[in-house]
Subunit: 140 residues, 2 copies
DNA sequence: CGCCGTTTCTTGACTCTTTCAAGGGAAGCG
DNA sequence: CGCTTCCCTTGAAAGAGTCAAGAAACGGCG
């Protein structure tokens, strides 16, 4: 978990202005990976009270557009965000409770897989989601 | 594209009643893979006019629950449906126009991949989405 | 063939997530 | 310190999907 100074540098490096809402949201994403937007709004408000709903959405969009955070959206779930970016890792999702866990990619850079028949497409990324049941839900 | 009789048999085999709305929706999914719900409603209405919005949603839910159709939902797109089921194939999605193309799975049965570290999860499926640009959008 | 119980379809309103729009306010530059 | 640009607040709305109540249709059974 990087200190505030590093978060600032991250923002500046991406050509973004440094503002309190952006720091709050970026810090929240670093501290709690795989949270949905509503939970991120709550987490950002523990860092900076009085930040609007809309500001969080705007900040998340800017951060994803610049590549500082990654947006993931498994079926049946609202959008979730994570700060681990650039290593092309994948996800394990529990069908019962929706828990998400990171899985390292064996290759490490996109695309780690290529389709057998690419139908003329230029493929730059292979997104892999492993579906199953987490240890807790397997027991229950 | 199976005839009406085969669609009926599919429904019965899944333990479902045979109704006109179900045949219309199932036929539409067979005829047009990867359509979103709105387009499927329109397609179903060419087969059976006056079928409600809600009936299509209900039918699609029943069909996905029984495994007769598969629901896919790439990021940034509404839910889409396809009738090709049980062969664990994957998808190629164009980042620009959203076109979806099927890709055969080399293995053919789920899960075709297993994560390096499964974190205690019981994995039963690996969903793979290849992101890139289709031939048309690459040219433009 | 017709009745009845169950399932399914219609209608209409509503929830939830996400986005749009307008205006005041802060960041950064000179 | 003042100006310009970009960002955040407030409020409203769009889009996808869901909930609920009642009417209609399916299909088993007599």
């Amino acid at each position: 978990m990087p200190g505030p100074t590093e978060l600032e540098r991250n923002l500046r490096a991406a050509g973004l202005r440094v503002t309190r809402p952006r720091l709050a949201v970026l810090d929240a994403v670093h501290a709690h990976p795989h949270l949905d937007t509503e939970a991120l709004i709550a987490a950002a408000r523990t860092r900076l009270d009085a930040i609007s709903h809309q500001a969080v959405y705007d900040v998340l969009r800017v951060l994803t557009d610049t590549g500082l955070v990654r947006r993931i959206q498994p079926q049946g779930s609202a959008a979730r965000y994570e700060a681990r970016v650039g290593d092309n890792h994948h996800h394990l999702v529990c069908r019962d409770c929706g828990a998400i866990v990171d899985v390292d990619c064996a290759v490490g850079e996109a695309p780690c897989l290529t389709p057998s028949d690419h139908a003329g497409f230029t493929v730059d990324e292979a997104e892999v989601v492993f579906w199953g049941r987490c240890p807790g839900c397997t027991a229950a």
